[in-house]
């Protein structure tokens, strides 16, 4: 007699069905058990927790990436209770104790995005799968940020975006697992337009030169809408290839176009080149329609200002943060960054530092590393003392809302870092918008 015959001596149809259901239940059980045992991806088992910093270490944004990495390292140091603590001392409310995150020491791994979406995804994947990173942060290009954000959603880890300014990051491409502290193109437009109208008048004709990719398009649209609402006219909006180098062929048509303002929707190297060349073509000395010709660069950074040299003087734009701010949070951060590296941090460094602290704090608040808990803690979280005044992580789209800085290239810099001056702090209420205007769905956590 076989074993089966022993187990099922009188196998009936009903008996077979019961046995099948039982078998199915037993087969399914381990999966349920495993899911319970590993409720989320990369749950830290030992005494440490690993974070993944994915920044451009090579390529056109390498210098910006290097500054982001410096900020990440400093944040880890402060979280582990080393150094002077930086913004840990000024952040309110804060659950951070300076003993790592939930008592576990923070370690980190780094990846190189090369400012390319595919390379960024590959390095993020490696950090999640091989190094066990619980959270990925970094950026320096909206294309990269959007690509890595969707990867993190699929993988089930949190993505704390670094420098990314496209409306799409928390607009049509937003994800439940992705959070952005940096401001966006829409906010730049809303903050900048009234200052432009105030300084240059309402009867202006603008000419846009725009970087031909996701960030450029949303930037152009945002500034166009905001300035046209104030009475400006748009003469032309010309797309330029990313990394064009010599923009003279796009600048010469501006000269006789009848426009009296040139808006450069360029970033990084493109902005440095297009602005320098526009100034060389004498645009800033020109009088058109009886008015002085003006150039506007909607998104600025100090690193870019350094590249543009004298050309940046007097130019208006917006920035997420500037090291010369005198609030307690900024002062504490600049002090510890300066002491560590000998120069002040860039806006990219500040957003990355703050994002790391915010993630750690959310874990402490939630009492778990489980992304669902962390997301819940971050959604709607209101905080202060991090350099941008009272700030809120809006639950509907995971976008931070805070005051926006309108800055101007300083005419007489007192030091090599002192390149921008804050022209106006635009209150948060003026840059807020309905999250539905950009579409997109957050989706679910761990799904």
């Amino acid at each position: 007699m076989s074993d089966d015959d022993k187990k099922f001596p009188n196998l009936s149809r009903r008996g077979f069905l019961k046995a099948s259901i039982a078998t199915a239940a037993v087969t399914a059980a381990p999966t349920i058990l495993i899911r319970n045992a590993h409720a989320f991806v990369n749950e830290p088992k030992g005494a440490t927790v690993t974070l993944g910093f994915n920044v451009p270490q090579t390529g056109a944004y390498a210098d910006e990436g290097a500054d982001e990495l410096r900020a990440f390292k400093l944040a880890v140091k402060h979280l582990n209770g080393e150094g002077d603590g930086g913004m840990l001392n000024t952040m309110k409310p804060s659950s951070l104790k300076g003993n790592g995150i939930l008592g576990k020491k923070v370690t980190y791994v780094t990846g190189d995005t090369q400012t390319k979406s595919d390379a960024a995804r590959a390095s993020a994947k490696r950090m999640i799968e091989k190094d066990g990173a619980l959270m990925i942060s970094g950026g320096s290009s909206s294309g990269v940020a959007i690509a890595v954000q969707s990867l993190c959603q699929e993988a089930g880890v949190i993505f704390m975006a670094g420098l990314t300014h496209s409306n799409d990051t928390t607009g049509k491409d937003k994800r439940k697992h992705g959070f952005r502290h940096f401001f966006n193109a829409y906010m730049s437009g809303q903050a900048l337009a009234p200052v432009l109208a105030e300084e240059y008048g309402r009867d202006r004709k603008a000419y846009h030169l725009t970087a031909d990719y996701t960030w450029g398009w949303t930037q152009e649209e945002s500034i166009k809408n905001a300035t046209e609402a104030l009475g400006w006219k748009t003469v032309a909006a010309v797309r330029t290839p990313l990394g064009a180098g010599d923009f003279s062929q796009y600048i010469t048509p501006v000269l006789n176009s009848g426009a009296d303002v040139l808006i450069l929707n360029h970033y990084g190297k493109d902005m440095v080149n297009s602005l320098t060349q526009a100034v060389q073509f004498g645009l800033r000395d020109k009088m058109v329609n009886g008015k002085k010709f003006e150039i506007v660069v909607p998104l600025f950074s100090r690193l870019m200002a350094q590249g543009a040299g004298d050309a940046i003087k007097g130019i208006l734009g917006t920035t997420n943060w500037h090291w010369s701010l005198s609030d307690e949070g900024s002062k504490a951060f600049v002090k510890s960054f300066g002491a560590e590296y000998g120069f002040p941090p860039s806006q990219a460094a500040q957003t990355c530092y703050v994002q790391t602290l915010l993630y750690a704090n959310a874990c402490e608040m939630a009492g778990t590393f489980n992304p669902c808990g962390v997301i819940e803690a971050l959604e709607g979280f209101k905080f202060d003392g991090m350099g941008n005044g009272p700030t809120e992580y809006r639950a509907a789209d995971h976008q931070c809302f805070k005051d926006v800085l309108v800055v101007r290239g300083k005419e007489k810099p007192s030091s090599q870092f002192d390149l921008l001056e804050v022209a106006k702090v635009v209150p948060r209420s003026q840059v807020e918008y309905d999250p539905s205007i950009f579409g997109g769905e957050l989706g679910q956590c761990n799904a």
């Binding site: 056109a60 010469t252 006789n256 060389q280 590249g307 002062k331």
Partner: protein, 332 residues
């Protein structure tokens, strides 16, 4: 009308750079038969000679910066300024013209080293090998520059006296054609350099031998002339031409480690359109493609054919290759 003249002028100065790079590329191909993908890197190295000279001239002493109170920050004041005041400032201001003088020997040495150290071992190999090794060399040079100077563009200013623009049209009774001084100087400079190279090849004995060698290398060798050595010098000259083009270009385009690659592709198209190995062809095609590129960037044309500005050069190359497979001035 002004707009068209402006675009033509812009095309000419763009074309000046293309022609200078393509001239060297064509010279190397015509003499040594080598397809040199590292030629763009020579343009980039020339630009970094200007950056290095600027850095040398502005070697600074660190002075404590009292305006920053959060941490210990330092201001940098160039020694030249400390020692010589206004004269020191003027020397720093003229760093680009000074770089030109420095770039000639530096680029000649780099060119000779490159040819003797690497390229000559590949004369007899097929073009694919030459492309691979020179492309590899270009990447190595690029990464070396990046490790020293970082990835961000470094601004290099033209002397203050010519940093502004001038109304070119006013000279011809058509005011309104405003153009930067430095770009006009660049155009003039490229014409002079091209003229010098042609004169050198045309009116010197050395040039005559090189031309004979380009025509029939074996025959010239059989006459007892060491054509190899002459070609090595030609490689050096090509490096100097590309390097000078780069040095002079720095006030127009803040140099970064990648600028050579950006120009390389365009220069190859220029050489192909002009006819491989044909020097007048390279120059003519350089200016022609520069003008076409500028002209097709005009909004009036772009509104009819969107995106045409980005493909026009390649479109022309395709048409020329279909109609005249050996290029505009290539020999059959």
């Amino acid at each position: 009308m002004e707009a068209i003249l402006l675009q033509i002028l812009n095309g000419l100065d763009k074309g000046g750079a293309y022609a200078l790079i393509a001239l060297g590329l064509s010279l190397v191909f015509g003499t040594l038969g080598v397809v040199n993908f590292a030629h763009g890197a020579l343009f980039m190295l020339g630009a970094f000679v200007a950056v290095s000279v600027q850095e040398l001239l502005t070697i600074s002493m660190r002075v404590k910066d009292p305006s920053i109170t959060f941490f210990d920050a330092y201001k940098e004041v160039p020694y030249l300024e400390v020692w010589w005041g206004d004269i020191g400032r003027a020397i720093i201001d003229y760093s680009v013209p000074i770089s030109i003088v420095a770039a000639i020997p530096v680029m000649l040495l780099i060119g000779l080293a490159m040819e003797r150290g690497l390229i000559r071992y590949f004369y007899k190999r097929d073009h694919a090998d030459q492309i691979l090794v020179t492309f590899g060399l270009a990447i190595v040079l690029q990464e070396i520059v990046k490790s020293f100077y970082g990835a961000n563009p470094i601004p290099v200013a033209a002397p203050e006296a010519v940093a502004t623009s001038v109304d070119v049209g006013a000279v011809f009774g058509m005011p309104g054609i405003v153009y930067p001084w430095w770009r006009l100087i660049y155009l003039l400079f490229s014409v002079v350099v091209i003229g010098l190279v042609f004169a050198f090849l045309q009116f010197t004995t050395f040039g005559m031998v090189v031309r004979a060698g380009m025509h029939d290398r074996e025959m010239v060798s059989l006459l007892g002339i060491n054509i190899e050595r002459r070609f090595t010098i030609v490689f050096g000259i090509a490096a100097v031409v590309a390097g000078l083009a780069g040095t002079m270009y720095t006030p127009i385009l803040s140099p970064d480690y990648h600028m050579g690659m950006d120009f390389l592709v365009l220069s190859f198209v220029v050489v192909v359109v002009g006819g491989m190995g044909s020097l007048p062809g390279a120059v003519a095609a350089g200016f022609l493609l520069g003008i076409l590129q500028s002209f097709f960037s005009m909004n009036e044309i772009k509104s009819i054919l969107p995106g045409i500005d980005q493909i026009i050069i390649y479109l022309v190359a395709v048409i020329i290759l279909l109609v005249r497979p050996r290029g505009l001035m290539g020999k059959d």
